[in-house]
């Protein structure tokens, strides 16, 4: 069976973010790009599913500017994915990205299970997986921390508020968006890295998918850094004095009690 994983390339968490002069985005000079952390769980689960079902293949798919996004696809290949496709496109939103992913998956003959991360840490939107599932007319579950496939249906656990979990069964094909806890992603092996370097990544132009510009529904503007926080007020004294002073400040100065 065919298993797809949709990944996104994002700035590394440690990267310092600077705003572009026209405030329509961030200054990408000097940014270290990595695979979205939640997508690593998705790649790992896809690999595990393939390994448990001989004859299966893992296809990893990403939308973005080709030149840099292929690096994250190579990371996924080094982790064990079999094939990779890059959709070359820029200036897209969640909906148009989801449509592109769905179109490419359809063109490749569909998939039994499609994995992704529960959200991308750049815009925190947690939207693309559900939109893609809708465009493919298949069920989805997000925030998944446990996955099982019995040959026909998938059984997953979805993390919800208060530490509670929903146990959800879906008919396949199905979209599964991974949360932390689903697995421990494997490190890329040296032979894996060597193999990934040589692999030919299939290229698709976003423009060739015939998705109209009117399918871009959301635009981000007015990028700004958060306001500077006033310096911390340190409370000195022994433990008793510190405790009573803090409560006083929270009540009388911060007024949060």
């Amino acid at each position: 069976m065919k298993i797809f994983v949709c990944i996104k390339q994002v700035p590394d968490t440690e990267t310092k973010i600077k705003i572009s002069p026209d405030q329509t985005g961030i200054d990408t000079a000097g940014i270290k790009w990595v695979m979205n952390p939640y997508d690593e769980y998705a790649v790992e689960e896809a690999n595990k599913l393939r390994d448990a079902n001989p004859g299966s293949q893992v296809w990893v798919l990403s939308v973005g500017p080709k030149a840099r996004v292929v690096e994250s696809l190579r990371t996924a290949l080094a982790m064990g994915a079999d094939e990779a496709i890059v959709v070359n496109g820029e200036g897209l939103d969640n909906l148009s990205t989801a449509k592109a992913l769905a179109e490419v998956i359809k063109a490749e003959g569909g998939a039994k299970v499609i994995f992704s991360g529960k959200l991308a840490i750049d815009d925190n939107s947690s939207s693309v997986s559900q939109m893609m599932a809708e465009f493919l007319n298949v069920p989805h579950t997000t925030v998944v921390s446990k996955f099982n496939f019995n040959g026909e249906n998938v059984l997953v656990e979805r993390d919800i508020e208060g530490g509670a979990k929903e146990v959800v069964q879906m008919m396949t094909p199905a979209v599964v968006a991974a949360n932390k806890g689903l697995n421990m992603p494997r490190y890329a092996s040296l032979p894996g890295i060597m193999k990934a370097k040589k692999k030919v990544i299939k290229e698709v132009e976003f423009a060739s998918l015939n998705i109209p510009a009117s399918d871009i529904k959301v635009k981000y503007t007015g990028f700004a850094l958060p306001p500077e926080k006033p310096a911390v007020k340190m409370i000195s004294g022994d433990a008793s004095a510190q405790a009573s002073e803090l409560v006083k400040l929270l009540r009388d100065e911060a007024k949060v009690l």
Binding site: I17, I121, Q130, G162, M170, D215, K217, V256
Partner: protein, 322 residues
């Protein structure tokens, strides 16, 4: 002026604070506010929906909608949207809201702004502001080519005034939409805590490695009980198995924005700061004066957490009883 549809989440018939926030913001804009509530207890919230600003309420009182199912919820909300024709939809960026509305947006061919922290409604247009790159910057979300604009707001971002009990809403009962379900929610396994979720909590007390061992979370639980707070944790102690992942605040855990966040024995790795820097007032208690958490804190205490926290609990007890 147009109509704003508010998806009103409730717990067994008790309206969530996040729903009150959205209803009151919608009503303040001068638009007509239409609320939607699902499930066998939906009838119990219609009065509260009216008190908070809805003039019309659509309910689907079907027990099949007591538990969230993406397919049935999408079909039912889409049917009501088709009837109401709102220009704006407001919902909470909760487990349900974040899962449901992107799918609804794809079905309707409209835009969705998820995880927003403020919104500006003018006439039947809306823009929203959301944190980007783990709160390192903010951006304004603008809609285009979108007949309906969907905004999902984080909880505790908008003010809530006392509800006006003289106001009532016109209640419309809807039959449940028929859906050929491919998704079955078999069971809901309850979490250990009956408290408010971290993402909804107004006060959070979080613990890290500085607590030295798992058993010492007891001192945080005692403090949280006095404050009516929810207990969170750093990634280090979740990975060490002291507490469950549901309690993790930060990059690979939950993003929280309470009024008061008390970080106990947490050094403040960037992954942790990413999840809590939106908190209004931050208290840091740590034995290392150079811990990065102090750079984000409003108030800082250098000292032994195990010595200070029990004293703090006693002080809060006194302060809150007067």
């Amino acid at each position: 002026m147009g109509k704003i549809l508010v998806f009103a989440e409730h717990t067994n018939g008790k309206l969530k604070r996040s729903a009150q926030e959205l209803l009151q913001a919608a009503a303040a804009s001068g638009n007509t506010v239409v609320a939607v509530a699902f499930g066998s207890h939906a009838g119990d919230v219609t009065a509260a929906l009216g008190h908070n600003g809805a003039s019309e309420v659509h309910v689907v009182k079907d027990a099949a909608l007591d538990a969230y199912n993406p397919e049935s919820f999408t079909a039912n909300i889409a049917a009501i949207i088709a009837k109401v024709q709102p220009s704006i939809i407001l919902a909470s960026a909760s487990s349900t809201g974040k899962d449901l509305f992107p799918r609804v947006a794809a079905r309707l061919g409209v835009g969705v702004a998820s995880d927003c922290t403020s919104l500006t409604i003018s006439g039947d247009n809306v823009t929203a502001v959301k944190p980007m790159y783990s709160g390192k910057c903010f951006a304004t979300v603008n809609f285009e080519n979108s007949s309906t604009k969907i905004v999902l707001m984080r909880a505790n971002q908008l003010p809530v005034a006392a509800a006006d009990t003289s106001k009532t809403a016109n209640v419309i009962e809807n039959a449940a939409a028929t859906v050929d379900l491919k998704t079955l929610v078999k069971e809901i396994v309850k979490g250990a805590s009956e408290k408010l979720d971290l993402t909804e909590a107004n006060i959070i007390v979080s613990g890290g490695r500085g607590l030295k061992e798992a058993a010492n979370f007891k001192v945080l639980n005692d403090l949280a009980d006095v404050l009516g707070a929810t207990v969170g944790a750093s990634r280090a102690v979740v990975d060490a198995g002291w507490v469950g992942h549901g309690m993790q605040v930060g990059q690979t855990g939950k993003t929280v924005a309470p009024t008061l966040y008390i970080a106990v024995g947490i050094s403040g790795a960037i992954q942790h700061l990413a999840g809590m820097s939106g908190s209004k007032v931050i208290v840091a208690i740590n034995n290392d004066p150079n811990a990065p958490i102090f750079q984000k804190a409003t108030y800082g205490i250098v000292g032994d957490a195990l010595e200070i926290v029990p004293k703090l609990t006693e002080e809060f007890k006194k302060a809150l009883h007067h």
